[in-house]
Symmetry: C2
Subunit: 211 residues, 2 copies
DNA sequence: TAATGTGAAGACGTTCACAGCC
DNA sequence: GGCTGTGAACGTCTTCACATTA
């Protein structure tokens, strides 16, 4: 066995789609919708009915033929799976425009909570933005233990990103989402996801041209 | 044949990595580095040597055994492939924190140019941010034809995203990069890429827990 | 010998097709 | 009949192994 992993590992793409289903389903529940068919959810999520059923199969959730799936139960099941990890308390690194956008994006979101923001710009220290207090990067180790932070979002300029990643890893953070336009080197024990905005746009440009 | 596509289509993931290689290679070229081995580029890009060679194979670029690849030639080849589409002039929708972050991100980038920003907030109209002028969304059709815009980035709140996508499609935009937290419906003729920030973080949380 | 180029295998993800069950 | 659940086929992406080349 190569890595030590939890049993019943869910495919990466499925995890991403489950997060989207969750958003859609909470909206539906508020609208009073109680059941949904796989083809309906698929149409809301821009994918196919078999894909939805596969995803639900992966988390062991069942519906009933002719009746579809119960929205409330599906939502609860997805939250049990996605929320099942140890930590969902997040540090944000970099309080520029992107950082502030992310703070407001996650401000009223359940489950994933940004509990502290970090910057090296003196003028930002102590400020509270979207309900989140800013600290100096040097305070990270303290906040990690006090606030129980286990994940981080990197929204600093590329030139600072590797240093931040190193500091985060040293402080015991277990997962990082990187928005900086540089590939980061992190230890095996840290899960790293890179959102490469330029690459994404480059992809759009390339495939939009071949249509 | 299901879709009408350009010949010699490059795999999606490869296109994304090529964009990253380009960034890395321009940096190297400025540092005076003339040749590079696949395993070196792989190490900078956080992937493997065979992966790099496959990617280069996809664009028909060759190196020489023992000598590696010529950095300048590789860069030129990548730019020929990525820049080969019809249009790389971009509209930004939404001039909030995220929009401004994206404007500065693309401000001094070659190839992909954000030539106009759109918002419905009166206070932003006419302003120039990171060298890009803000217009009302109603002016989109005019700017598309005047400025030759073919791609769009959606950075508006979820509640406005579908309307913006519809306006963009109606104005003749061929590719969209969506940052809003809602799946969008667009015509087959428009290439759509969704960057789902919540889903990405949810994925980090999930896989960081199982390490 | 130390690198590239590439067929073949393997892992992963999606779609199909249909059995089974309200 | 109309929907779910799922084995099997299919397609895409990554890795391996090694022939090839300077």
């Amino acid at each position: 066995m190569k890595k030590s992993v939890n049993e019943s590992k869910i495919p990466a793409r499925t995890v991403e789609r489950l997060a989207m289903y969750r958003r859609l389903l909470s909206g539906m529940l508020e609208s009073g919708c109680e059941t949904i068919f796989s083809h309906e959810l698929a149409s809301f999520a821009n994918n196919t009915a078999p894909q939805v059923r596969r995803d639900l199969m992966a988390i062991g959730f069942s519906g009933r033929p002719r009746c579809g799936y119960r929205v409330g139960e599906m939502l609860a099941c997805i939250e049990r799976v996605l929320g099942g990890g140890f930590g969902r308390r997040i540090a944000l690194f970099g309080v520029g425009n992107l950082g502030r956008a992310l703070l407001s994006h996650f401000a009223y979101q359940r489950g994933l909570t940004v509990v502290a923001a970090f910057d090296t710009d003196e003028s930002k220290l102590g400020r509270v933005i979207s309900g989140c207090r800013c600290y100096h990067l040097d305070d990270l180790p303290e906040r990690v233990s006090v606030d129980g932070i286990s994940l981080g979002i990197i929204a600093v300029p590329g030139s600072a990103a590797q240093d931040v990643a190193d500091a985060a890893a040293a402080a015991g953070i277990r997962g990082l989402l990187n928005f900086a336009p540089v590939p980061l080197r992190v230890d095996q024990s840290v899960f790293l996801e890179h959102i490469d905005i330029t690459a994404a746009l480059e992809k759009v440009a390339y495939f939009a041209s071949s249509k």
